[in-house]
Symmetry: C2
Subunit: 341 residues, 2 copies
């Protein structure tokens, strides 16, 4: 039985779901993977909790003891920060659930490098650092001989990286296309059914699918971040946002809708890597897709990705839970896979 | 650079394609995976070739030197058999490309166990042994601390096992449904377009998609073998064909077609694992599926699989090359993944 000590950074929706999921899956993970997974440190922006295994039995906060507010836990230490946590012994993995800026990578970029330098594996749902400094993080992880789990930042419960790196091992990836943002896909689906952009977005917000400020989703930045990370991870490239053409769904002309409808196409926001193109081979673009397209059936808040290969033809993955619990499940997957042969 | 010595058993369509693919991918595998993959032994039913690395440079037959007929190679040893090969040193992996009987496992079952006992990893496209004695092979591989690569026997270039075991790690699989046989799916697709069964099968045979004796495909046995192996590998079960209800596509009543058409369904041959059912929870069954079904768009010779999970919802994979080269690519994938962290 291998004990895995996790430092959970961030206790918002994804962090809370990750914590709960680890509690729920304790027995399953022991039985199936022979891993005892412990969240032994939790940190938010104002302080945190640290339970050493020596001090408190299994070193695991119990679900009942850790509610939705970290601050209400009796052992919460106000003012405890990242610097303090790095000094604690026995931390194997940083699970980063903090939101980060995809233009600066802050605040996670710094945390990521410091955890890697401390010899911790990093499993992250935070796109910023990977968008801003993919090459630096990859190099740093290699230098420190630790792993980087990026599923949480690359469409979460929809398998993307695992499939490209493992299921397609030995094949050359000739291109990638993905519908990678559930919110914008939902809005496009509803618009194709006759709603205006404002109506569709409003409905998505009412259903809790879209943020009050939906800019990242509808202007294509979330899709851009995901296809960028996926491409860099799969192709060994070092693209940044500056290399990309990024389009959203906020300004679709009615003639584009009419044309798509007339020719039997659907309009989809596609994150695309086309290595054969000399310029702008990485983009997020509103694209009319034909019924024969592998992602044609990906409607509503669903996501999907297609890999074009030399020896295996095209392989498409669709589905995966699109919410904080799905993101938490993707983080747990990465944690488990780090310790598997 | 890790050198991997392969013993290739069987030199039919899949075996030849595997040999050629390894030749083609030499540089790619060295560059990307730091593996030097050598086919150092090839055996067919009448004899074989063995090139020790000491004797012939890199221990690799060159593509030009090994044509479509093994017997024509100058070093071909008539009468060389499996027993002889097991005595050769430095063989890391048995790649089994022999056809086998899914009712007896012969002849591969015996080869599989002997290779495992000799400490070789086994990567196989041969379903028979896995259908007949999954539990025994799994136990034997564990006992000998070697790996078992089964992608070639579980829909080949369509990723099935990797996705379930790695991309869905930490999730519980609540059910599996797959369109796993290209031939029967092609026939059903053409029948839905108005052809008779005989016309559709005839066309599939003319196009080289269906065997002259298509029994395994159209009577559901190929689908049954695949869903059986996938289920046993993913769920840790030990089902055999006796536990299954197996249906094919040879006797579809015209009323079933009419009913499906009227209600907007497609008829598909689905391999299905439904753990919640008390009896017959593993089956191959002709099923009407609705446009909302994740496999609805899988037409013609295409294949697809859906996993139902607790924490990640449903995840569906479609595509993958359905021919001997696709099978060869799946075998190469398994070889590469055995040596990855």
């Amino acid at each position: 039985m291998k004990k895995i000590n996790i430092f959970l950074l961030g206790y918002g929706q994804v962090g809370k779901n990750f914590f709960r999921l680890v509690q729920e899956k304790q027995d399953f993970c022991r039985r199936k993977y022979e891993h005892h997974i412990c969240v032994s440190t939790v940190l938010n922006s104002r302080g945190g909790l640290y339970t050493a295994s020596e001090k408190k039995g299994e070193g695991m906060f119990t679900g009942s003891a850790l509610g939705s507010k970290l601050e209400e836990h009796p052992d919460y230490v106000s003012g405890m920060d990242f610097e303090n946590v790095l000094e604690y012994p026995d931390l194997d993995i940083l699970v980063d659930c903090t939101p980060s800026d995809i233009r600066t990578g802050k605040p996670s970029l710094d945390y990521t490098h410091r955890a890697l330098n401390r010899g911790m594996h990093v499993v992250t749902a935070s796109k910023g650092p990977l968008v801003v400094d993919f090459a630096g993080i990859r190099t740093n992880a290699e230098k420190n001989s630790v792993c980087l789990g990026m599923s949480g930042a690359t469409a979460a419960a929809l398998p993307t990286l695992d499939v490209a790196l493992r299921s397609l091992a030995g094949a050359e990836i000739l291109g990638i296309e993905g519908i990678l943002n559930g919110t914008s896909n939902y809005v496009l689906t509803r618009m194709s059914e006759g709603m205006t952009y404002a109506q569709a977005l409003n409905e998505a917000q009412r259903k809790g699918m879209a943020e009050p400020n939906p800019e990242q989703d509808v202007e294509g930045w979330d899709t851009a971040a995901k296809i960028l990370i996926i491409t860099n991870a799969v192709m060994g490239t070092s693209y940044t946002l500056e290399d990309m053409r990024v389009e959203g769904i906020t300004n679709i002309s009615s003639s584009l809708w009419k044309e798509a409808k007339k020719t039997g196409h659907k309009l989809k926001l596609i994150g695309r890597f086309s290595p054969q193109r000399k310029t702008q081979n990485l983009e997020t673009r509103l694209s009319p897709i034909h019924p024969s397209h592998s992602l044609y059936g990906v409607d509503g808040a669903a996501k999907g990705i297609t890999f074009f290969t030399d020896t295996m033809n095209t392989v498409t993955v669709t589905g995966g839970k699109s919410d904080p619990r799905g993101a938490a499940a993707a983080l747990l997957k990465d944690v488990l896979n780090i310790y598997r042969g």
